[in-house]
Symmetry: C2
Subunit: 241 residues, 2 copies
C-alpha cells in the first residue's frame, strides 16, 4: 500500500490526518522476479483514493519505532511470505506534490526474488500480479518513475556485481542465466561468448543433472559456489556482459 492508501498507517486517528502540516515517511517496494525466461515486476491494484483501481507498487508508512529498511522487509513479508529476500535501497522520493493525499516522502527499495519461491495465494489475496517489463501498465503517483530508476540501478549493479543468485532457482542452466541477463538488459547476447564469460568467473559448479525442459538436447544444471560468489561480490569485480 502506498502512503495514500493509508490503511497501514501507524495510526488511524483522523483528527491527526486532518492536520495538514505533517510530514510522513513511507517505503515502496519494487519487487523483481524471474520466471519463464522473463524479468517480472509485482504490482497491485489500488483499492483506495487517489488513483483507486490503478496499478501501483506496494508500500507502507514507516512506523515510529521501526528502521526504514525494517519497514520494507515487513511489507515484503506481508506480501510474499518470505523473510530472506535480497533488498537494496533504490532512491528517496521527496517532492512536495508527489502524493496528492499527504505530504509524504517515500524511500524506495528494490527486491530480487525467485517467483517460484513465494506464497502465490498470499500474493493473490493482496490483489497482486506479476507483469513483464514490456507489458507493464502505467502506475499510480510517481511509481513508474520509481520502477525506471530501480531498473537503471539494477542494470548498473549487474555490471559490477554478479547477479542471479537471488533471481534464479538453486539449480539452473547457463542458457537460463543468459536469459536473465537478456531480460535485464533487454538485448540479445551471444550464447558462446556468454558461456565463456560466466565460466571464466569460476563461481559456477557444474552438476551431473540435466534440465530437459528447456530444450530437446537438455542443458547441464549448475549451482553457484556461494563462497566464491561472495568473494567475487566483495572484490568489486567488473562483470561486463
Amino acid at each position: 500500500m502506498t502512503p495514500s492508501s493509508a490503511s497501514t498507517a501507524h495510526t488511524s486517528n483522523t483528527d491527526f490526518y486532518a492536520s495538514n502540516d505533517k510530514l510522513y515517511v513511507a517505503t515502496d517496494c519494487i519487487i523483481f522476479g524471474f520466471d519463464d525466461g522473463d524479468l517480472k515486476l509485482l504490482i497491485f491494484k489500488r483499492r483506495v483514493e487517489p488513483d483507486s483501481g490503478i496499478w501501483s507498487l506496494i508500500g507502507s508508512f514507516v512506523k515510529i519505532d521501526e528502521d526504514v529498511d525494517e519497514a520494507a522487509r515487513r511489507v515484503l513479508k506481508e506480501i510474499t511470505g518470505l523473510e530472506e529476500i535480497y533488498m537494496e535501497q533504490s532512491k528517496t522520493y521527496g517532492k512536495v506534490e508527489r502524493d496528492p493525499g499527504y505530504r509524504c516522502i517515500s524511500v524506495a527499495n528494490y527486491a530480487l526474488m525467485r517467483i517460484s519461491d513465494h506464497d502465490i495465494e498470499l500474493t493473490q489475496s493482496h490483489g497482486a500480479f506479476w507483469y513483464t517489463l514490456q507489458e507493464l501498465p502505467e502506475l499510480a503517483l510517481d511509481h513508474s518513475e520509481m520502477v525506471n530508476d530501480a531498473l537503471a540501478k539494477l542494470r548498473r549493479r549487474a555490471r559490477y556485481q554478479p547477479i542471479g543468485f537471488e533471481l534464479l532457482p538453486e539449480k539452473f542452466t547457463i542458457p537460463q542465466l543468459q536469459r536473465l541477463y537478456e531480460s535485464i538488459y533487454q538485448r540479445d547476447l551471444d550464447p558462446r561468448n556468454f558461456r565463456k564469460k560466466v565460466l571464466s568467473l569460476k563461481v559456477l559448479v557444474k552438476l551431473d543433472e540435466k534440465d530437459k525442459l528447456g530444450s530437446k538436447r537438455g542443458a547441464y544444471l549448475y549451482r553457484f559456489d556461494s563462497e566464491k560468489y561472495q568473494e567475487l561480490l566483495e572484490s568489486g569485480y567488473n562483470f561486463e556482459i
Copy 2:
C-alpha cells in the same frame, strides 16, 4: 545543522504527538571540493548536543512545503553562497537509533564543487573547514558512514560518467585532471596512459594558454566541450581509468 540541532524543525505541535513520538525528515550534505591537487570535504564543528564540539556534516530538517532536494540546495546555498552546485542523492539513513535526540531519518546528498568558487567568509562564519580525506576526523552520529558511502558512490560514478566538470576550474591541465582522479581513487595512475585515455574521449578542447604554476615547463590548459561532455554523459559510456 544536523537534525539533532533541531533549530529548524518544521513544526512544534506537541498536542498530538508527545515530542519524541514524532518522525523527522532531515537532509545532510556531503560536500566534496577539489583544490591543491586534493579532494576535500567540508565539515563543521557542532555547537549543539548531542556530540557538541564534534565535527559533523551540514544538514537541516526538511520543511513541510519543500522538496527534499530543495532542502539540500537551501543548505548548500546557506553555507557556500552558491546556487548551481552539482548535487546527487546518495542514500537515506533510517535507523531508529541513528540520532539519539530525535527519531529522524536523513536523506544524504553529495555535492561536487570548485573550492575556489565559494564564499570563504560565509563558510568560515559557519564554523566550516575543508579537510582532505586522509586527515578527516571521526564525525558525529552516522556521518562517517555517510561519507564512506558517498565516496564509494562517487568512485563508482566516476567509472561510468566523466567527472571533473563540477570539480575543476573552467580551465585546467591534464595533469590536474589526473590528480583529481588520483585523489578520488587514492592511487597513482600512469600519466602517459591517462593522457591517452582522456584525449580519446574527445571531450577536451586544447587552449592556446599554458599553466605555468604547476611545473617548470608548464602544461597546456584545456576546457571541456560541454556539448560532447553532455553526450558522453548520456551515452552511459564506461570511463574505466
